[in-house]
């Protein structure tokens, strides 16, 4: 941490380590050079965070500082957006908000940045702002069922039952059997005191996802209000904390950033050692997505590509790796093996992969 990037005020030095929010930079250098309209990103003091988190964050920040000056437009937006995802995954909301806002300014046609900014607003309790941003994202990408779902849930919380219902139904038109949407319709019915409809919806959701034990509570309240005490008691006894689950690819990407590249490298090696090279490639790619300069990810992608017989792809990863680490002997050795291997696949991938 350089002193010039952070302004720490006049706090007693002994309490500095305790307070996350006291030290904030003014601007990142890349922003000044590219567009003065962009927002400054308040970066947290890394020293306050756990070592593993420090590594994750500093890698992301370093990568951003390294690449941003040479980028503009959509690519710079992507750099800001990915940095925002790292911050958001760690609940560093102010930084995430600024990064996403910049991504939107730079690439207003990308649907994911208003989506992520909407999640930020949801997480800090600004639901009206979240709804507006989900709507903007859906204007750009109306086929994203998961975005319709988030939009519907926010509308439900704001009390806009009619539009919430429409959004849940739109979700279901795009993703049949979506449990959260079905349960959402049940919740709307419950709020409208249409208890029979609510029961039908919750029971349908539970048939699809019986492990979503939280739904039993809502079911119990619907039965109770219908006057069916026994059913209400039965469902209360089954109610638990497990909420119905949903999948959104953009959320998964953000969660991946929380887990960090090391997690996906481990998962990838396990897949590769089990012979599932296709999955290993996918997971290593995710590690690289999280940490674009991760040499282990690049090496494993190259090595796995080689084992799968795709020398061109292996060479592609190798070239990127050598740009980053021209003196790393592992990559030179791998290049030699690629050149020697005409058919590929003779060697176990376990011997190729690395940490």
């Amino acid at each position: 941490m350089s002193e010039s990037r952070y302004s720490c005020g006049l706090l007693p030095t002994r309490i500095l380590p305790l307070f996350l929010c006291v030290c904030w930079p003014v601007l990142l250098p890349a922003q000044i050079e590219t567009d003065p309209a962009l927002l400054p990103i308040p970066e947290p003091d890394l020293e306050l965070l756990q070592p593993a988190t420090q590594v994750k964050l500093s890698r992301a920040q370093d990568y951003f500082h390294h690449t941003a000056p040479s980028l503009d437009g959509r690519l710079l937006a992507e750099a800001y957006g990915k940095l925002g995802m790292v911050y958001q995954a760690l609940q560093l909301q102010a930084a995430a908000k600024a990064a996403y806002s910049n991504a939107i300014i730079l690439d207003p046609d990308a649907p994911q940045w208003p989506f992520y900014l909407a999640i930020h607003h949801e997480e800090v309790g600004e639901l009206a702002a979240a709804a507006k941003l989900y709507s903007e994202s859906l204007t750009i990408a109306p086929q994203m069922a998961g975005t319709w779902l988030r939009f519907a849930e926010v509308l439900l919380e704001t009390g806009d039952l009619l539009n919430s219902e429409n959004a849940f139904r739109r979700t279901l038109s795009l993703e049949r059997g979506q449990v959260v949407a079905i349960a959402g319709l049940g919740t709307i019915a419950l709020r409208r005191e249409q208890y029979r409809n609510a029961i039908n919806a919750f029971e349908a959701a539970l048939r699809i996802q019986p492990e979503a034990t939280q739904l039993h509570y809502r079911l119990a309240m619907a039965y109770r209000n219908l006057g069916n005490r026994d059913q209400a008691i039965e469902h209360l006894s089954k109610s638990g904390k497990r909420i119905p689950s949903s999948f959104h690819p953009w959320i998964e990407l953000m969660k991946a950033r929380e887990k960090g590249s090391a997690f996906y490298l481990r998962v990838g090696r396990k897949a590769a050692s089990g012979g599932d090279y296709r999955r290993a490639m996918a997971v290593y790619s995710l590690a690289l997505e999280i940490d674009p300069e991760n040499l282990a990810a690049l090496y494993n992608l190259a090595a796995t590509s080689l084992v799968m017989g795709n020398r061109d792809r292996a060479n592609g990863y190798l070239e990127r790796a050598l740009e980053l680490a021209p003196n790393d002997q592992r990559f030179h050795d791998l290049r030699v093996r690629i050149q020697q291997t005409r058919d590929g696949g003779q060697k176990s991938v376990e011997d190729e992969t690395t940490d």
Binding site: V22, P44, Q50, L90, V124, G159
Partner: protein, 577 residues
């Protein structure tokens, strides 16, 4: 309904109501002014924080509003903290108290002269004999020996204390003799006559088992050090003490059944929730299911919270449940529940169907969204403008450093603004915080909140206790522009307030207005047991009907408006059981 436009806001306006004030945004019509400093209420709370992030240092403290000297005006008791943590001394304090501050609880006597323009409080702690040097959390006020002099139960991080009011301006510590100590971490307590024998019993809500010698290092989602949540600790069981009527209490916690389920209590309130004229007890637990203890009329209680719909939120998830209040906000004659929760949760309004079953109507009534950015603690129903509808106060303050999403250079960045909501005929609540005056622009770490009419002018004032900050005395500036009627509901001898009595203002061609005699509720605080009915524009003589605990009813008529009345049991006309 007439619609007024105020800036960009469109607000339904009532006849002379609070919402009109809100809608016109008249700057001269501040609803409250802060009279703390000018009145001599100079209390500043000290939490003893040293940078170790001990959970207890952010949880206190409460405040009591009571007339300890029975001179007809309300006095104030405020709880204090001190340095905590092994080996910690004042040299370790991050926010040291003002010089020469004695770190014990303080009693302020209201010495305002009749007819005086301004309130005047005097710190009489030394003279009162109260030496409460524990790490203060909460306070309950009630007359445990029916001598007419209100007593105090102090809940601490550590041993609790029962201070008996001697009736001469002094108090005596009778904790040991009374047998009501609890050495665990208690927060809220409530006096309630559970067996209708005329003696106040005591419910003590205990929080979690916190080991100061071995505090757990917790981290926020950012992985930075932060205050722990309750889940890091084992919840403690509550206590129920039965008053024997001789100055001592029997611990009936086990026998009564209230230890069967528990979850880290923060808010406690007693009221008749199922309409059987026996007092029940609702306990709000931090992050765990709440309990609704229904009085079985035999000394035992049964938790009906799950089926009653008040154990968790509408989605089936437990929430933080700091402050709890009960009142008939919608005018249908039963006790509804409101409680404050953490940031990113919504506060919860449970509407009673009259039988003790509730529906979570928070979102429908407009109290959900406005609460999401805040962690609420103390809360109170009060009819700010005396229009007959109970408005709502919520005092806020964060519980983690992590909640400060925005850059700040504050040492203790838990401060938040407090909120006021106007009740629109029991159908909706409208946030009027921005229009409530400068007193609602403060950003502080508020915890306790208590109500009472300090200047006896017929409207309800507030005291808000702040963690690591000064206490605020907020005087109502608008209530008595409407007519009002104040009542003290007393036993036959006229000595003590009959806690738990339900009081109805009988109105022609309109449903009665229902209130309840109580001192409990809010967070760790105690309020004035007197009742003030807002009469709106109705200035003629009024009729009051009291339903005593157990169900007997008695009526008084021709009560003049705009003054306080004492209603002694058996002095009215019996109207049935």
């Amino acid at each position: 309904m007439k619609i007024l436009r105020a800036g960009k806001k469109i607000i339904p306006a009532l006849c002379l109501g609070l919402l009109t004030v809100a809608a016109t945004g008249d700057a001269d019509e501040a609803l409250f002014i802060d009279a703390g400093e000018s009145s001599g209420l100079d209390f500043v709370h000290f939490n003893g924080m040293s940078g170790e992030l001990y959970l207890p240092e952010i949880m206190g403290a409460g405040v009591a509003v009571f007339d300890f000297d029975r001179d007809g005006d309300l006095d104030i008791y405020l709880l204090q903290g001190h340095m905590i943590g092994p080996g910690k001394s004042m040299a370790d304090a991050i926010m040291p108290p003002p010089a020469n501050t004695s770190l014990i609880d303080r009693l302020y006597r209201n010495d305002t002269k009749v007819g005086a323009a301004a309130l005047h409080f005097k710190d009489v702690t030394e003279k009162s004999g109260i030496r409460s040097g524990g790490y203060g959390m909460g306070v309950a006020a009630g007359d445990i020996n029916n001598d007419g002099w209100p007593d105090l139960y102090i809940s601490n991080l550590g041993h609790n204390q029962l201070w008996l009011n001697n009736g001469d301006g002094t108090f005596k510590d009778i904790t040991e003799k009374a047998g009501v100590d609890d050495e665990r971490w208690s927060v809220s307590a409530a006096f309630v006559d559970i067996n209708l024998d005329g003696w106040l019993d005591l419910y003590v809500g205990n929080y979690v088992a916190y080991d100061m010698e071995n505090p757990k290092p917790c981290r926020s989602a950012t992985t930075a050090r932060d205050y722990c949540g309750p889940q890091a600790f084992e919840p403690a069981t509550d206590r129920l003490f039965l008053n024997r009527g001789d100055g001592s209490f029997a611990d009936i916690s086990e026998k009564s059944g209230i230890t069967q389920v528990f979850g880290g209590a923060l808010g406690v309130i007693a009221a008749d929730f199922n309409g059987d004229h026996w007092p029940d007890i609702y306990v709000g637990n931090d992050g765990m299911a709440n309990q609704l203890w229904i009085n079985q009329q035999d000394g035992t209680f049964e938790d009906t919270a799950p089926l009653a719909g008040v154990s968790v939120n509408r989605y089936g998830m437990p929430e933080a449940s700091m402050g709890v209040v009960a009142a008939d906000f919608d005018g249908d004659g039963d006790e509804d529940l409101f409680m404050t929760h953490l940031v990113r949760e919504t506060n919860t309004l449970y509407v009673n169907d009259g039988t003790g079953w509730f529906d979570d109507k928070t979102a429908e009534i407009g109290l959900g969204l406005a609460s999401i950015p805040y962690s609420g603690f103390g809360t109170a129903w009060l009819d700010i403008d005396n229009d007959g509808w109970l408005d709502l106060l919520i005092v806020n303050g964060a519980v983690t450093l992590f909640e400060s999403h925005e850059p700040t250079d504050k040492v203790f960045p838990l401060d938040r603004r407090n909120q006021l909501f106007a009740n629109d005929h029991g159908k909706a609540f409208i946030d009027i915080s921005d229009l409530a005056g400068d007193a609602f622009q403060f950003s502080e770490v508020s915890r306790g909140a208590a109500t009472g009419d300090f200047d006896n002018d017929g409207d309800i004032d507030l005291v808000i206790s702040n963690n690591s900050g000064r206490a605020r005395l907020l005087l109502n500036q608008v209530g008595n522009k409407n007519a009002w009627l104040g009542v003290s509901v007393l036993d036959a001898t006229g000595k003590y307030h009959v806690t738990g009595s339900k009081v109805a203002l009988i109105r022609e061609n309109r449903a009665p207005l229902w209130r309840r005699v109580r001192t409990d509720g809010s967070y760790a605080s105690a309020s004035d047991p007197r009742i003030v009915f807002g009469l709106g524009g109705s200035r003629g003589p009024q009729t009051i009907e009291v339903t005593w605990p157990g169900g007997e009813r008695e009526r008084w008529s021709a009560l003049a408006a705009n003054r306080y009345h004492e209603l002694r049991r058996d002095s009215g006309i019996k109207t049935g059981q």
